[in-house]
Symmetry: C2
Subunit: 96 residues, 2 copies
DNA sequence: TTCGTTGTTCGTAGATTTGCGAACAAAAAT
DNA sequence: ATTTTTGTTCGCAAATCTACGAACAACGAA
Protein backbone atom coordinates (compact mmCIF):
# COMPACT_ATOMS: atom_id res chain seq x y z
CA UNK A 1 0.00 0.00 0.00
CA UNK A 2 1.32 3.41 -0.91
CA UNK A 3 0.30 6.12 1.48
CA UNK A 4 2.35 8.98 0.15
CA UNK A 5 2.65 10.12 -3.43
CA UNK A 6 6.01 10.13 -5.16
CA UNK A 7 5.86 13.91 -5.18
CA UNK A 8 5.29 14.06 -1.45
CA UNK A 9 8.26 11.78 -0.88
CA UNK A 10 10.44 13.83 -3.21
CA UNK A 11 9.43 17.09 -1.55
CA UNK A 12 10.28 15.63 1.85
CA UNK A 13 13.61 14.41 0.50
CA UNK A 14 14.57 17.78 -0.95
CA UNK A 15 13.31 19.59 2.13
CA UNK A 16 15.48 17.36 4.27
CA UNK A 17 18.49 18.26 2.16
CA UNK A 18 17.72 21.92 2.81
CA UNK A 19 17.03 21.52 6.50
CA UNK A 20 20.35 22.96 7.68
CA UNK A 21 21.60 26.55 7.34
CA UNK A 22 24.92 25.42 5.87
CA UNK A 23 23.17 23.59 3.07
CA UNK A 24 20.80 26.48 2.40
CA UNK A 25 23.85 28.72 2.25
CA UNK A 26 25.59 26.43 -0.22
CA UNK A 27 22.60 26.22 -2.54
CA UNK A 28 22.16 29.98 -2.42
CA UNK A 29 25.84 30.42 -3.15
CA UNK A 30 25.59 28.08 -6.11
CA UNK A 31 22.51 29.87 -7.39
CA UNK A 32 24.65 32.97 -7.71
CA UNK A 33 27.68 31.46 -9.35
CA UNK A 34 26.55 27.99 -10.39
CA UNK A 35 29.83 26.38 -9.34
CA UNK A 36 32.35 26.60 -6.54
CA UNK A 37 35.09 24.73 -4.75
CA UNK A 38 34.88 23.14 -1.34
CA UNK A 39 37.87 25.22 -0.27
CA UNK A 40 36.05 28.46 -1.07
CA UNK A 41 33.19 27.50 1.20
CA UNK A 42 35.58 26.23 3.83
CA UNK A 43 37.14 29.68 4.11
CA UNK A 44 33.77 31.34 4.57
CA UNK A 45 31.91 28.95 6.82
CA UNK A 46 32.75 28.41 10.50
CA UNK A 47 32.87 24.64 10.35
CA UNK A 48 35.54 22.00 9.97
CA UNK A 49 36.44 20.82 6.49
CA UNK A 50 35.21 17.35 7.32
CA UNK A 51 31.86 18.70 8.45
CA UNK A 52 31.50 20.72 5.28
CA UNK A 53 32.34 17.65 3.28
CA UNK A 54 29.50 15.80 4.98
CA UNK A 55 27.05 18.57 4.17
CA UNK A 56 28.13 18.55 0.54
CA UNK A 57 27.68 14.79 0.50
CA UNK A 58 24.18 15.24 1.87
CA UNK A 59 23.34 17.65 -0.96
CA UNK A 60 24.95 15.32 -3.46
CA UNK A 61 23.01 12.31 -2.16
CA UNK A 62 19.80 14.29 -2.49
CA UNK A 63 20.79 15.06 -6.07
CA UNK A 64 20.91 18.82 -5.69
CA UNK A 65 24.60 19.18 -6.53
CA UNK A 66 27.29 17.25 -8.30
CA UNK A 67 31.05 17.22 -8.07
CA UNK A 68 33.49 17.34 -10.91
CA UNK A 69 37.17 16.61 -10.48
CA UNK A 70 39.40 19.50 -11.48
CA UNK A 71 42.74 18.53 -10.08
CA UNK A 72 43.67 19.19 -7.39
CA UNK A 73 40.24 20.53 -6.52
CA UNK A 74 36.67 19.35 -6.88
CA UNK A 75 34.27 21.70 -8.55
CA UNK A 76 30.76 21.55 -7.16
CA UNK A 77 27.87 22.62 -9.34
CA UNK A 78 24.12 22.48 -9.03
CA UNK A 79 22.52 19.46 -10.63
CA UNK A 80 20.25 21.44 -12.87
CA UNK A 81 17.81 18.69 -13.73
CA UNK A 82 17.09 17.90 -10.10
CA UNK A 83 17.26 21.49 -8.96
CA UNK A 84 14.59 22.33 -11.49
CA UNK A 85 12.55 19.37 -10.40
CA UNK A 86 12.81 20.55 -6.79
CA UNK A 87 11.76 24.05 -7.82
CA UNK A 88 8.76 22.72 -9.72
CA UNK A 89 7.72 20.46 -6.88
CA UNK A 90 7.94 23.23 -4.30
CA UNK A 91 6.26 25.68 -6.59
CA UNK A 92 3.33 23.35 -6.94
CA UNK A 93 3.31 22.33 -3.30
CA UNK A 94 3.38 25.92 -2.08
CA UNK A 95 0.94 26.92 -4.79
CA UNK A 96 3.17 29.77 -5.78
CA UNK B 1 29.61 36.79 14.41
CA UNK B 2 26.63 35.84 12.31
CA UNK B 3 27.42 33.46 9.51
CA UNK B 4 23.94 32.76 8.24
CA UNK B 5 21.25 35.28 7.47
CA UNK B 6 17.95 35.16 9.29
CA UNK B 7 16.31 34.12 6.05
CA UNK B 8 18.69 31.22 5.61
CA UNK B 9 17.96 30.06 9.13
CA UNK B 10 14.22 30.40 8.60
CA UNK B 11 14.34 28.50 5.33
CA UNK B 12 16.28 25.71 7.00
CA UNK B 13 13.76 25.67 9.86
CA UNK B 14 10.76 25.44 7.57
CA UNK B 15 12.50 22.90 5.36
CA UNK B 16 13.16 20.78 8.42
CA UNK B 17 9.48 20.91 9.30
CA UNK B 18 8.70 19.63 5.80
CA UNK B 19 11.38 16.96 5.76
CA UNK B 20 9.04 14.04 6.37
CA UNK B 21 6.33 12.68 4.06
CA UNK B 22 3.72 12.71 6.83
CA UNK B 23 4.26 16.41 7.39
CA UNK B 24 4.21 17.20 3.68
CA UNK B 25 0.98 15.24 3.48
CA UNK B 26 -0.55 17.19 6.35
CA UNK B 27 0.36 20.57 4.88
CA UNK B 28 -0.98 19.54 1.51
CA UNK B 29 -4.18 18.33 3.15
CA UNK B 30 -4.54 21.64 4.97
CA UNK B 31 -3.91 23.56 1.78
CA UNK B 32 -7.01 21.93 0.37
CA UNK B 33 -9.33 22.33 3.31
CA UNK B 34 -7.52 24.78 5.58
CA UNK B 35 -8.48 22.89 8.74
CA UNK B 36 -8.80 19.31 9.95
CA UNK B 37 -8.87 17.14 13.03
CA UNK B 38 -6.12 14.86 14.23
CA UNK B 39 -8.57 11.98 14.13
CA UNK B 40 -9.26 12.48 10.44
CA UNK B 41 -5.58 12.19 9.65
CA UNK B 42 -5.20 9.26 12.01
CA UNK B 43 -7.73 7.27 9.99
CA UNK B 44 -5.90 7.95 6.75
CA UNK B 45 -2.26 7.64 7.71
CA UNK B 46 -0.58 4.34 8.61
CA UNK B 47 0.99 5.56 11.85
CA UNK B 48 0.13 5.44 15.52
CA UNK B 49 -1.87 8.29 17.02
CA UNK B 50 1.07 9.21 19.23
CA UNK B 51 3.39 9.39 16.25
CA UNK B 52 0.97 11.61 14.37
CA UNK B 53 0.69 13.81 17.42
CA UNK B 54 4.47 14.24 17.38
CA UNK B 55 4.45 15.22 13.71
CA UNK B 56 1.71 17.76 14.34
CA UNK B 57 3.73 19.14 17.23
CA UNK B 58 6.73 19.46 14.92
CA UNK B 59 4.66 21.49 12.45
CA UNK B 60 3.24 23.54 15.30
CA UNK B 61 6.69 24.24 16.76
CA UNK B 62 7.84 25.38 13.33
CA UNK B 63 4.85 27.70 13.24
CA UNK B 64 3.23 26.22 10.16
CA UNK B 65 0.03 25.11 11.86
CA UNK B 66 -1.94 25.94 14.96
CA UNK B 67 -4.43 24.01 17.04
CA UNK B 68 -7.74 25.25 18.30
CA UNK B 69 -9.71 23.41 20.95
CA UNK B 70 -13.14 22.35 19.79
CA UNK B 71 -14.23 19.93 22.44
CA UNK B 72 -13.75 17.05 22.35
CA UNK B 73 -11.48 17.53 19.34
CA UNK B 74 -8.67 19.81 18.36
CA UNK B 75 -8.98 21.60 15.07
CA UNK B 76 -5.70 22.09 13.28
CA UNK B 77 -5.37 24.92 10.79
CA UNK B 78 -2.53 26.43 8.86
CA UNK B 79 -0.89 29.40 10.51
CA UNK B 80 -1.44 31.72 7.60
CA UNK B 81 1.06 34.40 8.57
CA UNK B 82 3.91 31.92 8.84
CA UNK B 83 2.79 29.81 5.92
CA UNK B 84 2.89 32.90 3.76
CA UNK B 85 6.27 33.80 5.12
CA UNK B 86 7.52 30.33 4.29
CA UNK B 87 6.10 30.62 0.78
CA UNK B 88 7.76 33.98 0.26
CA UNK B 89 11.10 32.75 1.57
CA UNK B 90 11.07 29.67 -0.62
CA UNK B 91 9.88 31.64 -3.59
CA UNK B 92 12.81 33.96 -3.25
CA UNK B 93 15.27 31.21 -2.41
CA UNK B 94 14.23 29.09 -5.37
CA UNK B 95 14.04 32.20 -7.55
CA UNK B 96 10.61 31.17 -8.71
C1' DT C 1 61.36 10.77 -3.58
C1' DT C 2 59.57 13.86 -0.50
C1' DC C 3 56.52 17.73 0.33
C1' DG C 4 52.37 20.45 -0.06
C1' DT C 5 47.55 20.95 -1.49
C1' DT C 6 42.82 19.45 -1.67
C1' DG C 7 39.24 17.12 0.06
C1' DT C 8 37.27 12.54 1.63
C1' DT C 9 36.72 8.93 4.96
C1' DC C 10 37.15 7.01 9.65
C1' DG C 11 36.21 6.89 14.42
C1' DT C 12 33.94 8.87 18.05
C1' DA C 13 30.59 11.47 20.85
C1' DG C 14 26.44 13.70 21.90
C1' DA C 15 21.98 15.35 20.31
C1' DT C 16 17.87 14.72 17.71
C1' DT C 17 14.39 12.08 15.13
C1' DT C 18 11.12 8.55 14.45
C1' DG C 19 8.33 5.09 16.05
C1' DC C 20 5.38 2.39 19.24
C1' DG C 21 2.28 1.18 23.16
C1' DA C 22 0.87 2.40 27.66
C1' DA C 23 -0.59 5.74 30.67
C1' DC C 24 -2.78 10.00 31.30
C1' DA C 25 -6.01 14.22 31.01
C1' DA C 26 -10.26 16.69 29.92
C1' DA C 27 -14.84 16.76 29.30
C1' DA C 28 -19.29 15.05 27.57
C1' DA C 29 -22.49 11.18 27.85
C1' DT C 30 -24.63 7.42 30.18
C1' DA D 1 -19.90 7.76 39.34
C1' DT D 2 -18.45 5.41 35.43
C1' DT D 3 -17.67 5.13 30.60
C1' DT D 4 -16.44 6.94 26.15
C1' DT D 5 -14.09 9.99 23.07
C1' DT D 6 -10.15 12.65 21.68
C1' DG D 7 -5.57 13.49 21.65
C1' DT D 8 -1.27 14.38 24.41
C1' DT D 9 2.61 12.93 27.14
C1' DC D 10 5.77 9.36 28.93
C1' DG D 11 9.19 5.88 28.48
C1' DC D 12 11.81 3.38 25.67
C1' DA D 13 14.58 1.75 21.53
C1' DA D 14 16.76 2.21 17.16
C1' DA D 15 18.32 5.11 13.66
C1' DT D 16 20.05 9.36 11.91
C1' DC D 17 22.34 13.91 12.27
C1' DT D 18 25.96 17.11 13.47
C1' DA D 19 30.41 17.96 14.68
C1' DC D 20 35.38 17.39 15.33
C1' DG D 21 40.23 15.87 14.63
C1' DA D 22 43.08 12.32 12.78
C1' DA D 23 44.22 9.52 9.16
C1' DC D 24 44.17 8.75 4.37
C1' DA D 25 44.27 9.22 -0.90
C1' DA D 26 45.43 11.50 -5.18
C1' DC D 27 48.33 14.19 -7.54
C1' DG D 28 51.42 18.08 -8.85
C1' DA D 29 55.69 20.47 -7.48
C1' DA D 30 60.30 20.78 -5.67
Amino acid sequence: MEYYTEDQKKIARYAKALSHPVRVYVMEHLSKQSCCYSGDLSEILPIAKSTLSQHLKELKDAGLIQGEIEIPKIKYCTNNANWHEAKALFKNFLSI
